[in-house]
Amino acid sequence: MRYQTDRSRVHGLGSAKTGTAHFWEQRISAIALVILTPLFVFPLAYNLGGSFDEVREAYAHPLNAIVAIAFIVTAMLHLYQGLQVVIEDYAGGRWELFLLIATRLMCSLFALTGVFAILKIAFTA
């Protein structure tokens, strides 16, 4: 016997209230990262440890700058989505609430900081 009401069944959102939205968004960011990760990591490995001017010149190049911005934004979104699942799995009650809020704020802050840094390098180097 079904305990769901006809209305909740037709909405198809289940007990999480948001249906498959989180799952789907996480796959989208994962697919984006499959493309962006090699494009970001290889140049980063090359430039890490370079001089101030070398690093600025490298990331002032539009291709590096756009890839870096796209990677930082997508990676921070994906990091939040992943940490959210981990927190929901292992934490409960007030801790869960606190960690979810703190994680979201931190990931947003680091995404903004990264984008600001790359843009400033790109426009001033």
Partner: protein, 127 residues
């Protein structure tokens, strides 16, 4: 319930003596590398911010990133991201419903480990 065999019944797998299959270890490692890379992301953002700020600040951040501690963190971050990358592609394939048989899971697990090692080696050569 008088004839119940009390002493010789099979036990369900006990966590401390259960030898975890490769795939279980890989699943946990996927999570661990994902969480761990939060630290890498913060350090790299800091490094970019320093390059956007001033030469002195960059010397500080770059100095840490190229110190022995920074090198160790970046080395493990690099292993972590390539592992998570290869393992993640497996998860994306599984999400389509394919590659889920016992033999294929084992084979793709070993393939992911080899790919992650190869990508790490390329990264080390570039760096």
């Amino acid at each position: 319930m008088a004839n119940v065999n009390q002493g010789n019944r099979p036990l369900s797998p006990h966590l401390q003596v259960y030898r975890m299959p490769l795939n279980a270890v890989m699943s946990i490692t996927h999570r661990a590398t994902g969480v761990g890379m939060a630290v890498s992301a913060m350090l790299i953002t800091w490094w970019f911010l320093s390059a956007a700020t001033s030469e002195e600040y960059f010397a500080t951040a770059n100095g840490f990133m190229t110190s022995w501690l920074g090198d160790i963190i970046m080395f493990f971050s690099m292993l972590g991201i390539w592992y998570h990358f290869c393992s993640g592609i497996r998860h994306l394939v599984w999400d389509t419903g394919s590659g889920l048989g016992q033999r294929r899971v084992k084979r793709s697990g070993i393939a992911a480990l080899i790919c992650a090692a190869a990508l790490s080696l390329i990264t080390i050569i570039i760096a």
